[in-house]
C-alpha cells in the first residue's frame, strides 16, 4: 500500500504514460481556508470507454490478460473517500483521461503529501518523452514546472546527466520547500 499522496500521484501518472499520453499535467492544490486538498491528473492518452471506466474503479472486476489495469485507481479512490473527499475519473476514447481526488485537508486519515519532489523528478527523468506540466499550489504560493522549456534548453543533453540531475533536484526541492514553508 502507499503511505504518501505523492506515491499515488506517481502511480496514477504512470497510467497516463501507459495510455500513450504525450502531455500529462499534474495539479495539486491545498487550500487551508476551504480545508481542501485536491489532486488532478489529466492526460491526452488513448482514454477509455464507459465499460472500462466502471471496471477500473472496482478492484474485484477485471478482464485483463495483461496487467493494463491494476489497483492504483481503487487505492486512491478509497484513500480520498476515507477522508471525506471525492474521487472521479472521466475519460473519452481517443481524447484522454482525467483523475480527480480530493481530501479533507486536516482529516486524521489524510496521508501526508510525502516526497513529492521525488515523484516530480522521477517522472521528469524516467519518462523524458512525455511533456510534463506540474503545478503545486498551497494557498497563495505556487510551484510550476514545465518539462518543455527544460528539454529545449538542454537541447539533446539527457536529464540523467549528473550535472543536470543536480540542477533539477535542487530546483525542485527548493521550489517545493518554498511553498510548503508556511
Amino acid at each position: 500500500m502507499m503511505k504518501e499522496l505523492s506515491l499515488h500521484i506517481l502511480d496514477i501518472a504512470e497510467n497516463s504514460v501507459n495510455a500513450d499520453a504525450n502531455t500529462v499535467s499534474i495539479n495539486i492544490e491545498e487550500d487551508s481556508q476551504k480545508n481542501l486538498l485536491k489532486i488532478i491528473i489529466q492526460d491526452d492518452g488513448k482514454g477509455m470507454d464507459s465499460e472500462m471506466l466502471r471496471m477500473i474503479t472496482d478492484p474485484f472486476i477485471t478482464t485483463r490478460t495483461t496487467r493494463k489495469v491494476g489497483l492504483g485507481i481503487p487505492f486512491l479512490k478509497e484513500a480520498a473517500e476515507a477522508c471525506n473527499g471525492h474521487f472521479s475519473i472521466t475519460s473519452q476514447p481517443g481524447k484522454g483521461t482525467c483523475v480527480e481526488a480530493s481530501f479533507q485537508r486536516d482529516h486524521i486519515d489524510r496521508m501526508p503529501m510525502g516526497a513529492i519532489q521525488n515523484t516530480f523528478l522521477d517522472l521528469l527523468v524516467g519518462f523524458p518523452d512525455v511533456h510534463w506540466i506540474f503545478k503545486y499550489r498551497i494557498d497563495e504560493e505556487e510551484f510550476d514546472l514545465d518539462s518543455e522549456p527544460i528539454h529545449k534548453t538542454l537541447d539533446g543533453i539527457p536529464l540523467s546527466d549528473p550535472a543536470v540531475l543536480k540542477y533539477l533536484k535542487t530546483e525542485i526541492e527548493n521550489g517545493i520547500k518554498r511553498i510548503q514553508r508556511k
Binding site: V125, G126, T153, S160
Partner: protein, 122 residues
Amino acid sequence: MNKIKSLDDLKRVREEALEKRSKTAVSGKAHVIIGMGTCGIAAGARETMKAVLDYIESEKMEGILVTQTGCIGLCEQEPILQVVRGDEEKITYGKVDPEVAKRILKEHVSDGKIVKDHVVNL
C-alpha cells in the same frame, strides 16, 4: 515568479555537461530501467530510483540513461531494476532496495560485474 525561472542557469549546466562530455571518454552507454508500476511503487521503487539518481549525481557518472517502466509481471520481486550495458544482454535484478541499487551501479554499470545475488532469471 515561482517557476523554474533560471533557465539561464540550466543553459550553463548544459555547457558544462557538453564540455565534460568531450573531455571524458564515454565508456559505453548504459541504460537503467526501474519498474514503477503500482507493485513497484508499493515495494519502494521510488526510493530505489532516488538512490540511482543520487548515485549518478554524486559519482558523476556520464552517459547513463535512466527510465521507468510499468509492471512486468514479477510483482513479488519488486522493486525491479534492469540494466542494459552497451551491447550486452539485459540483466534483471529483483528486490533492489537503495543499497542494492548503489551496488548495481558501482559493480555492474561501472565495472561490468553482474551482482549475482540479486539477478532474477526470466
